[in-house]
Amino acid sequence: MKAYLIRRLLLIVPALIGISAISFLAVQLAPGSPIYMVLLSGRGNGNEGADTQKIIEDTKRLYGLDKPVPVQYALWLGRLAHLDFGNSYKDQRPVREKILEALPVTLELNVLSILLIYLISIPIGVYSAVHRGNKIDNALTVLLFLLYSLPSFFAAMLLMLLFCGGEYFNWFPAFGLHSLEADSWSWGRYLLDHFWHLVLPVLCLTYGGLAGMSRYARAGMIETIRQDYVRTALAYGFPERTVIYKYAMRNSLIPIITLAGTLLPALIGGSIIIEQIFSIPGMGRLTFQAILARDYPVVMGTLTFSALLTLLGLVLTDVLYAMVDPRIKYE
C-alpha cells in the first residue's frame, strides 16, 4: 500500500513536466509576442516612439525572451514552482493573485456540484438497477438520457429566459453571486441571497454529470448483481435488501469513485460557459475574459493551474480507490 502510494505520487512528476511543457509550448506558439501586447496595453503610452526600443528591451528581459528556449523553459519551470505566472497584460496585477481570487468561487460551484451529483445519482442508479424494467426505471432512464444530451448552455439560456427577469417568471437573479446591496445585509440574509444566486448555475453544472453518473451507477449495480458472490449471499439466506445495500453496494461503488477524477476536468471546463452566462467571477470567466483580451499570462496561468488541480484530483481518487478496494493494496 505504502509503495503503491509513493509510486502513485512519483508518477505526478512526469505529468507535471508534461503539463508545464504543453503550457510553455502554447505560450511560445501564441501569435503576437508579449512585447507587442505590452506596447498595445498602454504601458508604452506617454513616451511614444522615443523609448520604444527601450520598452522592447525591458519587456524582453522581463519575460526572459532574450535567452535561448531551453533557458526560457527552465525559467518557466522555476516560476511555476511558486505558481508565478507573471503579471496580467491587462492590468499588470500578478496572475497568481487573480487566480487565487477566482479559485474559491469555482471551487465552491464545483464542490457543490460534485456533492449533489453523487448524493442524487447513486440512489437513483441503485434504485433503477434493482427495479430494472419497471415503469419508474424506464421513465428515469429516458429522462436521464435526455438530460445527458441536453447542452448546458442551452439549458442555462432557457432557464434564464424563463426565470430571470423579462417576460415570464422573475424568480432568480441573472448575474453574479450577490445582490448589489448584499454587503449591508445581516449574514443570514447575505447567505440566503448567495445561495439564491447559486441555484441556477449549480443546477446547470450538476444535471449533466448527474445523468451520466446515475447511468454508470445503474450499469455498475446491474453488473454487480450478476456476480457469483451475490448469488452466494442469497444462497446463504441474506435478505435481498441486505445483499444489495451491504454487499453489492460496496463493490459497485468502487468504480464510480474513480469517475470523480474524470468528472473534475469536465466540470471545470463546463464552468467556463456557465460562469460566463451567469456572470460569475470564477476561473472560467477569468479565463474567458483573458482569452478575449489575449492576456496570455492569465490564460496560461489558469490553464496550468486547473491542470494541476485535476492532477491532484486524479491522484486523490486513485488513493481513495486503493483504500476502498483491498485488492489494490496487495501488489
Binding site: 509510486r7 512519483l10 501488489e331
Partner: protein, 325 residues
C-alpha cells in the same frame, strides 16, 4: 539418430518487481531447467498442476514468449537463436493448439480466411488453390466443406477444436504442441478429439508435445510422460513405466489423487497436505519436501536431480531414486 525436438535446460524466469521504483527483487521461476526430447511421430506428455510451468514450457519452446535460458533444438537447429526469417520457417514445422475452443479462434474471421491467410503468408499455395487446400484441411479434421465460410461462433466446442487443429495443420508441421486441447470439452467430445489427434499422428507422422492435467487422458495418448512440479521435471519416462511404477512421491500422489472411473471406489489414496508453494519463493532443497509424505531431513537442503530408475525412466528424488555412486 537425433530426436526431432531436443530441449536442454530450458528456463523461463519472470522478474518480480517490488517497491517504489519497481526494482527487480526476484524471479518467478516458472520453468527452471527443463530438458526432454521427442522423437518424430511420438507423443511426450507434460503433466502437472496449475503453476507447474507446463504451459509456459510449451509456449517458450515455440518462442511465443522468449525463454530466459537454455536451448531448444528442432531437427538440430537452435530455435532460441533463430532470427526473424528463420523463426518464420521454423514455425512452419512447429505448431500449437490451445485449450479454450472459444478463445483460440479469431471471432471476426471465417474459417477460410483464417486458413488461407496462413497459406498466403507461408507461400504454401497460390491463391487459386486456397479453396481446395482449405477444404482438404477441413476434410482431414472431419469437418464438412461448408464449414469454410462460417464464423467461429457458429460451431460447437468440439468443432472449434477441430478448426484449431486444421489451422495448425495448414503449414504441414512435424511437431504440434497441444496445450490442454481437451480440458474444456465434455467427455464424449473429448474422445472424438483424442481419436482425431491419434489418427492424424498416424497419417501424417506428427510428433506431439501434449500438455495436460488429466492423467487418464495422458495415459491414453502418450508414449512418454514427464511430470512437472514447480517448474521442474520430477519424473520422466516411458508411459508404462511411469504409470505402473511411479517413483517420485509426487507422481504417486498425483496418480492416487486423480478420481478415475473404474478404479474402484476404495482404492488407496495418498492425500497431499497443503497447497503448491509459490514459484517466487520455492522451498529450498527439493521443492516438494514440505508436502512430501516420505521427506527426510536432507531433502530440505539438497536439490535432487533426475536419476536413472530403469531404462529411460528417471526421477528426481533423494529417497526413491538416490544417486548411484
Amino acid at each position: 539418430m537425433t530426436p526431432l525436438l531436443e530441449v536442454k535446460d530450458l528456463r523461463m524466469h519472470f522478474p518480480v518487481r517490488k517497491g517504489v521504483f519497481s526494482r527487480v527483487c526476484g524471479a518467478v521461476r516458472a520453468v527452471d531447467g527443463v530438458s526432454f526430447s521427442i522423437e518424430a511421430g511420438k507423443t511426450l506428455s507434460l503433466v502437472g498442476e496449475s503453476g507447474s510451468g507446463k504451459t509456459t514450457t510449451g509456449r517458450a519452446l515455440l518462442r511465443l514468449i522468449e525463454p530466459t535460458g537454455g536451448q531448444v533444438l528442432f531437427a538440430g537447429q537452435d530455435v532460441t537463436k533463430a532470427g526473424k526469417e528463420d523463426l518464420r520457417v521454423l514455425r512452419k514445422q512447429m505448431q500449437i493448439i490451445f485449450q479454450d475452443p472459444f478463445g483460440s479462434l479469431n471471432p471476426r474471421m471465417t474459417v477460410f480466411n483464417m486458413l488461407s491467410e496462413i497459406l498466403q503468408v507461408h507461400r504454401i499455395a497460390p491463391p487459386t488453390e486456397w479453396r481446395g487446400r482449405v477444404e482438404e484441411l477441413l476434410r482431414l479434421v472431419g469437418l464438412p466443406q461448408e464449414a469454410a465460410d462460417r464464423y467461429p461462433h457458429e460451431f460447437s466446442g468440439g468443432q472449434r477444436q477441430r478448426v484449431g487443429i486444421a489451422r495448425a495443420l495448414a503449414v504441414e508441421p512435424k511437431l504440434i504442441v497441444a496445450d490442454e486441447p481437451v480440458s474444456a470439452l465434455d467427455v464424449s467430445i473429448q474422445a472424438q478429439i483424442l481419436n482425431l489427434l491419434e489418427e492424424l499422428q498416424e497419417r501424417l507422422g506428427l510428433a506431439y508435445l501434449f500438455i495436460g492435467h488429466d492423467l487418464s487422458v495422458v495415459r491414453h495418448i502418450s508414449d512418454e510422460v514427464a511430470v512437472m512440479y514447480l517448474g521442474k521435471i520430477v519424473e520422466i519416462g516411458p508411459k508404462e513405466r511411469v504409470f505402473e511404477n511411479p517413483t517420485h512421491p509426487y507422481t504417486r500422489a498425483l496418480l492416487s489423487a486423480a478420481p478415475m472411473a473404474g478404479a474402484g471406489p476404495k482404492h488407496q489414496r495418498i492425500v497431499l497436505q497443503g497447497d503448491v508453494p509459490s514459484p517466487i519463493a520455492p522451498p529450498p532443497g527439493c521443492a516438494f519436501h514440505p508436502r512430501c509424505p516420505d521427506a527426510r531431513p536432507e531433502c530440505r537442503e539438497l536439490g535432487p536431480t533426475l536419476q536413472k530408475v530403469s531404462e529411460g525412466h528417471r526421477a528426481a528424488c533423494l529417497v526413491h531414486a538416490p544417486e548411484h555412486q
